[in-house]
């Protein structure tokens, strides 16, 4: 018998699809079309409660970025994440026509980040919980652009 490790998504209400093809789950308002992330039960713009889940685009433009240079405190970070801390990028990615999503970036070198660059959704291990996956955005490959 072989033991298989299927990594768990950090929160199935936030990330859907499969580990190979993840999708962020947001919501869209049936009345005014506003897209939110994560999924909300009511629309923050028009207050309607008629909102549905929606899988968000997986590619967008970097709207702003920073590098997290110090380890966050645990909680809310995991203790293991504090131990293995390395500076990481954080940004907002504008998904065209939808919403700007805050995410970790796989890139942590300031010189390789610029506002407007194309970014793709990916998964990374949760810091301090390697069996769990969370979402991040990585620079789109040049041939993809």
């Amino acid at each position: 018998m072989t033991e298989t490790h299927t990594p768990q998504l950090i929160d199935p209400d936030v990330i859907g699809g499969s580990p190979e093809e993840p999708r962020l789950i947001g919501s869209v308002c049936a009345r005014c079309g506003t897209v939110t992330f994560p999924r909300q039960r009511s629309c923050p713009r028009c207050t309607s409660e008629d909102v549905q889940a929606r899988e968000l685009a997986t590619r967008g433009e970097l709207w702003s970025w920073t590098i997290q240079c110090f380890a966050p405190k645990a909680p809310p970070y995991l203790p293991g994440g504090v131990e293995e801390f390395e500076p990481y990028g954080v940004g907002y990615i504008e998904l065209p026509g939808e919403v700007r999503v805050e995410a970790r970036l796989t890139e942590s070198e300031p010189d390789r980040l610029r506002i407007g660059m194309l970014m793709d959704l990916t998964l990374i291990p949760v810091p301090g919980a390697p069996d769990k996956l969370t979402f991040a955005f990585r620079p789109a490959c040049q041939e993809d652009e």
Binding site: I10, D11, D13, V14, G26, T34, T36, F37, P38, P44, R45, W63, S64, W65, T66, I67, Q68, C69, F70, P72, K73, A74, P75, P76, Y77, L78, G81, Y88, V90, G91, Y92, E94, G97, E98, V99, R100, V101, E102, A103, R104, P110, I115, V126, P127, G128, A129, K132, T134, F135
Partner: protein, 384 residues
Amino acid sequence: VSGGGDVAVVGVGIHAFGRHDGVTGLEMGAIAARRALADVGIAWQDVDFAAGGSDAAGNADTSVSILGLTGVPFINVKNGCATGGSALTTAHAMLVSGAAEVALVVGFDKHPRGAFNPLPEEWGIGSWYGETGLMLTTQFFALKIQRYMAEHGISDSTLAKVAAKAFENGARNPNAWRRNPLTEEEILGARMVNHPLTQYMFCSPGEGAVALVLARGSRIRELARVPVYLRSVAFRTRRFGSFEVFSPSIPIESAPSATTEAAAAAFEEAGIGPGDVDVAQIQDTESGAEVMHLAETGLCEHGEQEALIQSGATELGGRLPINTDGGCLACGEPIGASGLRQVHEIVLQLRGEAGERQVPKACRVGFTQVYGAPGVSACTVLTV
């Protein structure tokens, strides 16, 4: 000048900001309250309404067990960094309505060292947000100023100048925490915290307390040496489309910030424009916040900050002195106390009692703005 329903700050008291081992936040609040009462020359028994709060140092109303059990109605508020502004809003409303004649407002706090570690569950977000490493106020400010700098041509040098000014002013303020001036080069060369913001461009959670005594109508002239009229106080939460702290997403459609709306409402209620302001205290959680809030409050146009700050206009001797007591950068951030510290400083400046950091020009109109998570702001206009 009088007006605004004739409410005035008639007394102020402060407990020094910084680190104070062996004294609780609540005790600091009571010390500030006694100093404010002494500044007016009245007793705790003369206060017929009180409001106050802290974020992490206990319930303000329990200070009655230190100050005395007079039966006074005492409302606790808790509104993040806008806690002091909310307490002031509450007291102002009670005075304007005639429900009280003399009110005490107190704000205090005592935070452990290092960055704040709020829990996402308390802010309506899943634990995934914190575990992923996104639940940090410093990230928000860095992301906001990074975008703002690109859109409005703000330089790293300007961020450093804001911090250098804060420490310069803090050096002249005996109640400030950081009292050593730093050069622009030292600030830019310091440890990076969140690009583009270095260690000395951020305020640190700290300790401290401030209290104000307010009065209405005929009580003002009886009590105050130099009344400083509270012409308006306006408090707002965020609207859809504003970019605020702890946002897993932000809409592409943009809207004015809570600060923009609170400031506009405060100026309108006071019947005074941003161009009339002689001296202002605005939320400088980090250097970029002062830059952005300058324009959000209407004190300048977006993009104008670069020339304004580089020219020295926001320094003590400039056209528009900002954060004359050193702001959050030099005083630190005891959440519950900061909003009232701003008003305390404006009162001293308008009375001409700010000592070594007194603005040299004549000041008749002051303005304050606090901002806090998850998108709250309170602004005041004060005049003599």
